[in-house]
């Protein structure tokens, strides 16, 4: 047994006196039993929880988007919470329904920021909603509120003056539309028409197509619009007639699933036999469900005639690619937790999809969100958020692309995938020529 000599005691005493003044502040942060008042937690953070705020469509014709995004994110958050959370804190999602309408979205955001005092905003759905919320983030910039991974590929949250208040994970509509135009032009389908939602989302996609066509010295061949909130039961005959008159060789739809499914239905019925592309926001599985169900109930025979010319761009890999670790984890956790939409927000019945691109996106968003929260350490502060995001460099999410962020890079992923319907499900398109040429 080692004996403590008087000299050793004196030496250690002197050493303690030398370092004590510097150690004291650190101890005050860590030690709450020493009579010091416990330092205050950041808003939205308690000893047991980190609360994130989400406003999305949980009602109306686009409710499938908010619900599926929420389900995917919840599957991962539930998993993390079951494993002990982040530094002992569970991740909680405080959700509100905005029905994909700007005014409720703004009200919900105010509530989340000022009343609920959430730690950050997460998983907002839609361009018309997010573009109205962005100025509020700027207004309250002294409180360091950030919007993480909105389900929109529009530009306003990617560029000044509001780009500094949001972090995007998914590719932009500009990238999606450019990819679609490039591929259509490559297979000699150069007369491209646009069917779009008459709002900021539609305009964002329209601008993307216009920009991409300009690159080839071409213009949009024809365009038709619809009102946000249009249901599948609505007629799109006029829109189809307008586009048909422009003799397009392909149509790019910038809309949500109900209206786009109605357009596809009427386009096929009126003989517009050209490839019809949809952006990732459309909600591919819900679109397919509507068309398949309609074909069956209307006794139109096989739904294949309505789906064979569809090509949907995606911003996450196919959920069928179980060889990717994140996809396998997604499938496992969706099966295990089978997350349900928030019951208090459900105004009408909703049949969730077992797997979907939207819920997979929500899952991957949550996965990166958890990683960022972990990087904040034991005492998360909003003021540290941006710096924590910038430490995400070449980060492996478990898909075929690594995520990176930086002061000049506020979008983590860049890849766009193209899918077509085969045997009643969306699969990756491997050859555009064979399919559409």
């Amino acid at each position: 047994m080692r004996t403590i000599t008087r000299r050793a005691l004196l030496r250690s005493g002197l050493a303690w006196c030398a370092v004590a003044p510097w150690l004291k502040p650190l101890r005050a942060d860590a030690d709450t039993d020493a009579g010091q008042p416990a330092p205050q937690m950041a808003p939205g953070v308690t000893d047991t929880e980190i609360v994130l705020g989400m406003s999305a469509a949980f009602s109306g014709p686009s409710r499938g988007l908010g619900i599926e995004l929420y389900r995917g994110a919840t599957a991962y958050f539930d998993h993390v919470n079951e494993q002990g959370g982040i530094a002992g804190r569970n991740v909680m999602l405080k959700t509100y329904d905005d029905g994909y309408q700007p005014a409720p979205s703004v009200r919900n955001t105010l509530k989340l920021m000022l009343q609920d005092q959430v730690f950050l905003l997460f998983g907002y759905v839609g361009t018309p909603t997010v573009t109205r919320v962005l100025p509020m983030l700027k207004k309250f910039q002294d409180r360091n509120f950030f919007l993480f991974f909105p389900f929109t590929g529009a530009q306003p949250q990617r560029e000044p003056p509001y780009g500094d208040f949001a972090f995007n994970l998914r590719s932009s509509y500009r990238q999606e539309t450019a990819g679609l135009v490039d591929n259509f032009v490559r297979i000699n389908r150069k007369r491209i028409a646009v069917f779009y939602q008459a709002d900021a989302y539609g305009r964002s996609g329209w601008a993307g197509v216009r920009r991409a066509l300009k690159h080839y010295g071409r213009q949009i061949a024809g365009e038709a619009t619809y009102r946000r909130g249009t249901k599948f039961t609505a007629s799109m005959r006029r829109q189809v007639e307008i586009l048909k008159a422009s003799q397009p060789e392909a149509v790019i739809c910038i809309g949500s699933y109900a209206a786009c499914a109605a357009f596809v239905r009427d386009a096929v019925n009126l003989g517009l036999q050209v490839p019809i592309a949809n952006l990732s926001f459309v909600g591919s599985e819900n679109l397919l469900k509507l068309l398949t169900h309609w074909a069956l109930t209307e006794e139109r025979g096989n739904s294949e005639q309505y789906t064979r010319l569809l090509v949907n761009s995606q911003v996450v890999p196919s959920y069928e690619e179980a060889s990717m670790p994140a996809i396998k984890e997604y499938r496992d956790l969706m099966r295990r937790y089978n997350p349900q939409p928030p019951l208090e927000l459900l105004k009408e019945p909703y049949l969730p999809s077992e797997h979907s691109f939207v819920s997979l996106e929500g899952f991957i968003d949550a996965k990166l969100m958890v990683e960022i929260l972990r990087r904040l350490g034991d005492r998360p502060e909003r003021s540290q958020l941006q710096q924590a995001v910038f430490t995400v460099q070449d980060f492996d999410l478990g898909i075929d692309e690594r995520a990176s962020f930086g002061p000049d890079r506020r979008q983590g992923l860049q890849q766009v995938y193209y899918t077509v319907v085969e045997e009643g499900r969306f699969v990756l398109l491997d050859n555009w020529e064979d399919r559409f040429a």
């Binding site: 700007p102 361009t127 018309p128 573009t131 109205r132 529009a154 530009q155 306003p156 560029e159 000044p160 008459a198 709002d199 900021a200 989302y201 539609g202 305009r203 964002s204 329209w206 601008a207 365009e223 038709a224 619009t225 619809y226 009102r227 006029r238 829109q239 307008i242």
Partner: protein
């Protein structure tokens, strides 16, 4: 009966006067409200077009068009504004609120013209369109379409409220006039009846109530009684004046 005729004439006169006042006030009110509101709607729309034009410069030059669309979507929520479109310097529609598409008349029209024009768009209705140049026109133009039917409806409502008030005043005035004329005519009617009775029965026809009145009717009643009893020699008795109580 003379009193009734007098009453009818008075009433007719009062009614005509009130009617004339009401009619002229209503016409003036309709003209004023119509002119002012029409001018105000047009002026407001021009202000909106100018506001959008001023706000659009930065967006058109530096930002994505979705921000521009978001901007006009907020303005089109204002009642009576039915459509907004923005054409760039080359005349391309870079943002608009039309569904299912830009109408033919607007597509083929002069997009650089910012003068106020009236449009009739098939399937949409009649509109007054105002315009404003963006960056003195070198960056494009903003056009705001007001629904004339909706404006007309609003003007009609505003006018309707004023005419409704005037009509109520007319009805109340006429009813009050009837009541007042009736009030004045009733003693005259009583006096006439008294005179008739007195003429028929000079000894028992006296009406104490009428004779006790201290107004012109009382004086006339006493005068009738005096005449019915036979006129005395001059200077024998003087008819009391109206001020003797």
């Amino acid at each position: 009966m003379k009193i009734q005729k007098l009453f009818q004439k008075t009433l007719f006169g009062v009614f005509s006067l009130f009617g004339l006042i009401s009619l002229s006030t209503s016409v003036l009110c309709i003209y004023t409200v119509d002119t002012h509101l029409s001018e105000e709607y047009e002026s407001n729309s021009k202000d909106i077009a100018k506001t959008i034009a001023d706000s659009s410069v930065d967006i058109l030059l530096n930002r994505d068009l979705s921000a521009l669309q978001s901007l006009i979507d907020q303005f089109v929520e204002i009642q009576s504004i039915r459509y907004i479109y923005i054409a760039d310097e080359e005349g391309e529609f870079v943002a608009h609120t039309f569904v299912p598409g830009v109408p033919e008349e607007i597509r083929t029209g002069d997009r650089n013209n910012t003068a106020t024009v009236e449009r009739s768009l098939p399937g949409m209705g009649d509109f007054v369109e105002v315009g404003s140049p963006i960056l003195a026109g070198v960056a494009g133009t903003v056009h705001v379409g007001m629904d004339t039917d909706l404006i007309a409806l609003k003007i009609q409502r505003a006018i309707g409220r004023q005419v409704y008030l005037i009509s109520i005043i007319l009805v109340v005035g006429v009813l009050a006039a009837i009541w007042f004329v009736n009030l004045a005519a009733k003693p005259l009617g009583d006096l006439l009846a008294y005179a008739v009775t007195l003429a028929r029965d000079r000894d028992n026809g006296a009406d104490d109530t009428l004779l006790a009145r201290d107004d012109e009717v009382g004086q006339l009643a006493r005068l009738f009684l005096y005449f019915s009893e036979g006129v005395p020699a001059e200077g024998e008795q003087r008819v009391s004046s109206g001020n003797d109580g």
